[in-house]
Amino acid sequence: METSLTYEAAYKELQEIAREIETESVSVDVLAARVKRASELITFCQTRLRATEAEVENIIQQMEHKTI
């Protein structure tokens, strides 16, 4: 996951995903991917809200490994 991801960007992306799904402009083909992405974004935000800076860094590292 991008290291530069901000809460704002994450939330915006989340809203975008919600909107896409709502307007059914998201295809079944990417539906799971979108949900996964939403899950990651939420996890990212929640972790970041609570974790120490070092922990956040660690999570970001892990996320990057996963998503690539």
């Binding site: 809460y7 989340l14 809203q15 919600a18 970041r48 809200l49 609570r50 800076e53």
Partner: protein, 482 residues
């Protein structure tokens, strides 16, 4: 020469007693509302006494025009405490006040004014006037960052958007302040387990003289190069008074134009300071500032969770909607395929019915046409010959009758000619009594050639007689003309 006291005298005590008596006579039991400035103030908390001077200055020259020592004993001190609570202003130097005093004289301590009451409203009005002046100055001198609006003041700092999450905080406070402790504890012990990163910018947050210090710390925050989500200004707690620092123009200006949203948690109950008015957000206590930050973050998390729920619900709806679409499409294709096939079947069976029917019908029609034709052919030739025969008979009759008619007619005509000729023949005429007269062998048709004595022969029907003319008479009448 020996000093000879020639002037009569009294002792100082006698004099002071006289003064005291006079003053007592003049002022005893009376008190006065006096407007004055306070200087040289000192307070003895143990005894609860205030000592100060009341002065009056010339408005133009600022030269002292009057000065009297004053004090406040237990009764006055009580009034002062009430005043401080009501105004949020510490009783002290440079305060312009309306106080009720009694005039006292003591042989040992001299003339003193004893504070009996202090007018809270007067000072409040004074402070308010100062505050309004400062605000006017901010609006006029810093128009780019401060604007008066219908419901207060709008500043550049207010227009800044708070980050969705406030985590990196710069705190301007006094290290020893109790409010700072409360703030830190509140953040640390938040029930949601949010993490915060805090940098402290310590300063003295009391006393008007520390304006420059506070401004310097704001500059230090700016200069730190760190990214902060907010700057929190917390006053060190303690007395509710001594807020004048935060009413200062310089701090107001710095706060209004500050590039990071400022949360003011100055800690007071009475009214908002200029700092409060200029800051992005203002709360009453440091603890409330911490709570506000936590609530802010919580609302972000709530929004996240709301989106998550939305996404989950919509995702499930989408999947089930797609499932329905697919099912209905499936049913549709199945039904339509069957319909299509039965339609094709129908068409085919119709062809199978109509073709034999039509073929039979066609043959039947041909057959009846043939019968009609052959009927015509059977009947007609007989009619043709019969009518020809009729024609022949007719023509024969014609020829017969017309030949007879022709001959008859010829006969009649011939008869007619015969009759005419018979009637006109000379023999017939003679028989009727006519006679022919001959002279010299020629028939005479007139008397001109005849003369008396001429011999003529008269031919009658049955004989010829000869005669001589004896006379001649010319007939001029026409009586016997036919």
């Amino acid at each position: 020469m020996p000093y000879v006291n020639t002037n009569p005298y009294i002792t100082l005590s006698q004099l002071t007693a006289a003064i005291q008596g006079t003053i007592r006579n003049a002022f005893s039991g009376k008190s006065f509302w006096v407007v004055a400035d306070i200087t040289g103030h000192s307070y003895y908390p143990a005894k609860g006494f205030h000592f100060f001077d009341l002065v009056e200055k010339d408005p133009q020259t600022h030269q002292l025009t009057a000065k009297v020592q004053a004090n406040a004993w237990s009764q006055g001190t009580l009034r002062i405490k009430e005043f401080e609570r009501a105004t949020g202003q510490r009783f002290g130097n440079d305060l312009h006040v309306l106080i009720k005093v009694a005039v006292e004289y003591h042989p040992l301590y001299g003339l003193k004014l004893s504070l009996q009451d202090i007018d809270t409203s007067f000072t409040k009005g004074q402070l308010e006037q100062q505050k309004q002046a400062t605000l006017l100055r901010l609006v006029t001198e810093c128009g780019d960052i401060v604007r008066k609006t219908a419901d207060g003041y709008h500043t550049r700092n207010k227009s800044l958007q708070l980050q969705s999450v406030i985590q990196r905080i710069a705190v301007i406070t006094s290290s020893s302040a109790a409010g700072f402790g409360d703030f830190k504890k509140s953040l640390k012990d938040n029930i949601h387990g949010y993490t915060f990163y805090m940098d402290n910018y310590f300063t003295t947050v009391q006393g008007e003289a520390n304006v420059a210090q506070v401004c310097a710390q704001l500059d230090a925050i700016k200069a730190s190069g760190k990214i902060y989500d907010t700057v929190v200004i917390i006053r060190g707690g303690g007395a509710q008074t001594d807020l004048l620092l935060f009413e200062k123009f310089e701090i107001g200006k710095a706060v209004a134009g500050f590039p990071i949203p400022i949360i003011a948690g100055i800690g007071h109950e009475i009214n908002e300071t200029i700092t409060d008015l200029m800051a992005h957000t203002s709360v009453k206590t440091p603890t409330m500032a911490a709570e506000m930050i936590i609530t802010h973050n919580r609302s972000f998390e709530d929004a996240l969770l709301k989106e998550q729920r939305n996404i989950i619900i919509r995702m499930q709806q989408t999947v089930s909607g797609r499932q329905q679409q697919l099912t209905s499409l499936h049913a549709h294709i199945v039904n339509r395929s069957r319909d299509l096939l039965s339609g094709y079947k129908e068409g085919l069976s119709q062809c199978r019915q109509t073709i034999p029917q039509s073929a039979r019908h066609l043959l039947l029609k041909q057959r009846s046409g043939m019968a009609q034709l052959s009927g015509q052919l059977l009947a007609k030739p007989g009619q043709v010959t019969a009518s020809r025969l009729q024609e022949l008979i007719h023509i024969r009759q014609n020829i017969q009758s017309f030949a007879r008619k022709l001959l008859q007619q010829q006969q009649q005509e011939l008869q007619h000619h015969a009759t005419v000729i018979r009637i006109l023949s000379p023999a017939a005429l003679l028989k009727k009594g006519f006679a022919m007269v001959y002279h010299n062998g020629k028939v005479v048709t007139g008397a001109s050639s005849l003369s008396t004595g001429d011999t003529i022969t008269v031919q009658l029907a049955d004989a010829a007689v000869h005669a001589t003319i004896t006379s001649k008479t010319i007939i001029d009448g026409n009586e016997s003309d036919i």
